[in-house]
Amino acid sequence: MSTECQDPLQHPQVQMAHGGQYIAAYVFSLILSALPLFLVQEHGYSDTHLLFVVIAAAAAMTIIQGYFWLRLDVSRTQAWFTASFILFIPLVVLTIGLTAWMFATLYTRTMIPTLMHAPGFTH
């Protein structure tokens, strides 16, 4: 599929720009940012529940922006963008997850408990 000699504006990656989809992702992202913020400010739920709400909002925004903004789908022009992104997800999960796990056990075993509950260290 040669595009060198053709009009570059006919390239599928130019032609896939879609105003309606861009605006839809924008509106959904704003709603999904404002909603958890409202719930966090209200303090009506337990912090653990709110953490799950925040994680769910981030995951939903990832899917919405990934699909409508970055067009991560399985079409012929976009399949490799999607494939590389999906292969990238385990790298992020391992980087953050293993670090968090390692330090969580390290903290519980090495930090002096009396210091951790000292009055100066209120969270």
């Binding site: 599929m1 040669s2 595009t3 060198e4 570059p8 504006l9 390239h11 990656q13 130019v14 032609q15 720009a17 879609h18 105003g19 861009y22 605006i23 924008y26 992202s29 704003l30 940012s33 404002a34 958890p36 913020l37 966090v40 400010q41 912090d47 653990t48 709110l50 953490l51 925040v54 994680i55 909002a57 981030a58 925004m61 990832t62 922006q65 990934g66 903004w69 970055l70 022009t77 490799w80 963008f81 590389s84 992104f85 990238f88 790298l91 992020v92 980087t95 953050i96 670090t99 968090a100 330090f103 903290y107 930090m111 210091l115 951790m116 100066g120 260290f121 209120t122 969270h123």
Partner: protein, 212 residues
């Protein structure tokens, strides 16, 4: 019999003489996308260090996340940044229509909103620093400044790149080289939105919570 002729080394055609040319635009945008993903690995390691250092021991009796985070300010920053990204996206819709003035107008709006985002974030962090919450105060603050300012530096480069592309669009028009750069810049802007929602959710919003 004709099958036998095809097998004859003298007459065999091993590849199509007019093979498809590599698609220059698709090759370069995919290459840039892979770069963005590797850049995001740095962001992932910054998030990992933020997660580890967001602990009362690492606050060294200084401010913790609950004291320095203002989620409402962060929502305004989110609105400014996502609007800037939308403006850039809509300028690429104008590109599809070959509308040079529409593209330049979208760039202008994106740059103004992106600048507004940077001013607001700069104000927020200058305020923190004036109240003594400087990066060297504690491990927690070092991690916070590094993560948030790493994203801000990307927005600075997005603005500079957009300004350069505005000049190239005005002077060269929509040549193949200009078009692939516009597509790469689209990936860059959209990806900063991706990273910002994680900063917003896991730094600003969880900062107001009392969980580790």
């Amino acid at each position: 019999m004709s099958k036998m002729n095809d097998m004859d080394p003298a007459g065999a055609v091993l590849w199509a003489p007019h093979d498809a040319e590599p698609d220059m635009i698709a090759t370069r945008t995919l290459g840039f996308w892979l770069y963005l993903l590797s850049d995001a690995m740095i962001v992932a390691s910054l998030f990992a260090s933020y997660l580890v250092l967001n602990h009362r021991m690492n606050a060294a009796a200084g401010p913790t996340a609950g004291a320095v985070m203002h989620p409402l300010t962060a929502l305004w920053e989110t609105i400014l940044l996502l609007s800037a990204i939308l403006a850039y996206g809509l300028s690429l819709v104008a590109l599809k229509r070959k509308d040079r003035r529409g593209v330049l107008a979208g760039f202008g709006v994106a740059c103004m909103l992106g600048l507004g985002f940077l001013v607001m974030e700069g104000h927020e962090f200058a305020d923190l620093a004036l109240r003594g919450a400087v990066p060297e105060r504690s491990g927690y603050l070092s991690a916070l400044y590094t993560l948030v300012l790493y994203h801000a530096v990307h927005i600075v480069f997005a603005l500079l790149w957009t300004a350069v592309m505005a000049v190239q669009v005005a002077r060269q028009g929509f040549t193949p080289n200009v078009v692939y750069r516009l597509l790469n810049l689209k990936l860059f802007w959209f990806f900063q939105g991706f990273i910002w929602i994680y900063v917003f959710c896991f730094v600003d919003l969880t900062g107001a919570l009392h969980v580790h």
